[in-house]
């Protein structure tokens, strides 16, 4: 990761001009989306050929309404969230302790980290054949795919965070007579918490991204399933794009939720030392 910037923290980032009116401030971000929707609509109204198959914004809104009416909206959203939760939580429970151990025992990390780096670039989709072989077709395979996709970034984040703990803090802990278990609990864990939270947020984003791939394994609910099925079963591109929009919106919500967690409690202390909080 790129190193944090020097102590003068005035950058373009925090010298933004503030419009006087709060209403104006709220409108600017919305304007971007409004422009996008407008361009989308215009492009489709004048374009020709296979392009016409794509739905116009209004059609997408109606499609979402249709889903809500039929009761499918909630069903699909809950199904996807359900799978993501199981896979992600499993990855947290396995990956973070593993990463901490790998970070603490330098030689252990050296032995295993390169192997993780080989497994990491393998797309979750490429694991599908093995997943089906081991777990059959269905939910467990899907959850397994999500688990794998979240596991590697979480483990590597935890490992790097532990490796990055300042030696003075570790030595101070040892000086006060702490043995390894206490050192991990009272020094390492609090020290890595800010980085860990950022990693948790990014990995949740990955898990949510991968749910689409995971739901290609012959499940019959979920937003990813919706996208694939809507096209296969009748070229319902309005439902396809509706699914995409829903995925995007829920993705933002999940990310915002994790950011809120990052900011909570006395965790504010951490961000002066980890000022490269990722986008």
């Amino acid at each position: 990761m790129a190193r944090p910037v020097p102590t003068d923290s005035t950058t373009l980032e925090n010298r933004r001009a503030r419009p006087a009116h709060t209403l104006a401030r709220a409108l600017v971000p919305l304007s971007g989306i409004a422009v996008l929707v407008l361009l989308w609509d215009v492009a489709l109204s004048v374009g020709e050929g296979p392009f016409q198959l794509l739905p116009r914004p209004l059609a997408v809104v109606r499609a979402i309404g249709e889903l809500a009416q039929k009761g499918f909206l909630l069903k699909h959203v809950v199904a996807s969230l359900f799978r993501v939760t199981w896979g992600y939580v499993a990855a947290v429970v396995v990956g973070i302790p593993l990463g901490i151990v790998l970070g603490w025992y330098r030689r252990g990390g050296m032995a295993i980290a390169p192997l993780l780096e080989i497994l990491r670039p393998i797309s979750p989709l490429a694991w599908i054949p093995l997943a089906i072989l081991w777990f059959g077709v269905g939910d467990i395979s899907a959850v397994f795919i999500i688990f794998l996709a979240s596991l590697f970034p979480l483990t590597l984040t935890a490992m790097n965070a532990v490796r990055g703990v300042e030696l003075v803090h570790v030595n101070a802990g040892r000086n006060f007579g702490l043995r390894v278990p206490e050192l991990l609990r009272r020094v390492i864990y609090p020290a890595i918490l800010p980085q860990l939270l950022v990693g948790l947020r990014l990995s949740l984003g990955i898990a949510w991204l991968v749910v689409v791939a995971a739901e290609m394994i012959a499940v019959s609910s979920g937003l990813g399933f919706l996208i694939i099925d809507a096209r296969n079963a009748g070229n319902r591109y309005d439902l396809v794009v509706a699914g995409m929009v829903l995925i995007g919106v829920i993705g933002i919500a999940l990310d915002a939720m994790m950011r809120g967690l990052e900011r909570s409690k006395a965790l504010a202390w951490g961000y002066t030392s980890v000022n490269d909080a990722a986008p």
Partner: protein
Amino acid sequence: MTDKTAVKVRIQDLSKAFHTNGHEIRVLEDIDLEVRNGELVCILGPSGCGKSTLLNIVGGFLPASSGEVTIDGLPVREPDPRRIFVFQERGVFPWLTVEGNIGFGISDLPPKEKAARIAHYVRLVGLEGFESAYPQELSGGMKQRVEVARALAVNPDVLYLDEPFGALDSITRLVMRSELLRIWEAERKTILFVTHDIEESCQLADRIVVLSARPASIRRVVEVDMPHPRDLSSPRYLALRDSILEEIGLAHRI
């Protein structure tokens, strides 16, 4: 009452070499030193000469290549709460408040006693009112005080200070030096203090151990027989300082 003449820390024939990528870097050569109970000894030398390494070995954070360090006759093998190392203010834990940091080493005490002790040391280092502050809200000098308070709270026999005031501005440094002496007079710990600042060693130490450049060996040990408070304009002080400057081979005029 502590026996003033008893030897607290004994360093014998200490040598240290690092091995990196096939090269041997000799850092310390045949260091012999005795520190008596309640003394404030300064180890003086230029940056990079190995004085921090020496202190780390004495503190038990690094093994020696040869020779031995004993405290009260027992060999030093690992860090111990009876001998606390004060790093520069970076050693303060950023995730704990001032109170949390000071109480770090005494978490086993019953809550009332722990609270009383924390309050005592908060007062001793002059940080009343900041008990619930986090380190990021404090200045460098204040963080240094937290670290000293944290070290003292466990009632160690020996304190090791590794250029503790190096990150502070020169005015704060002067203030912190007199604060350290005030605390030392109150608690009379044995202190081993590493610095590259000649004035600092002259102002604080009972004895100044002048180290050579790397590989470091002891050039000279200077006994400073001046009571505190020391008059920094007195001829005696200036003579002391000049003799150190000459020992290190530096000019008197810039």
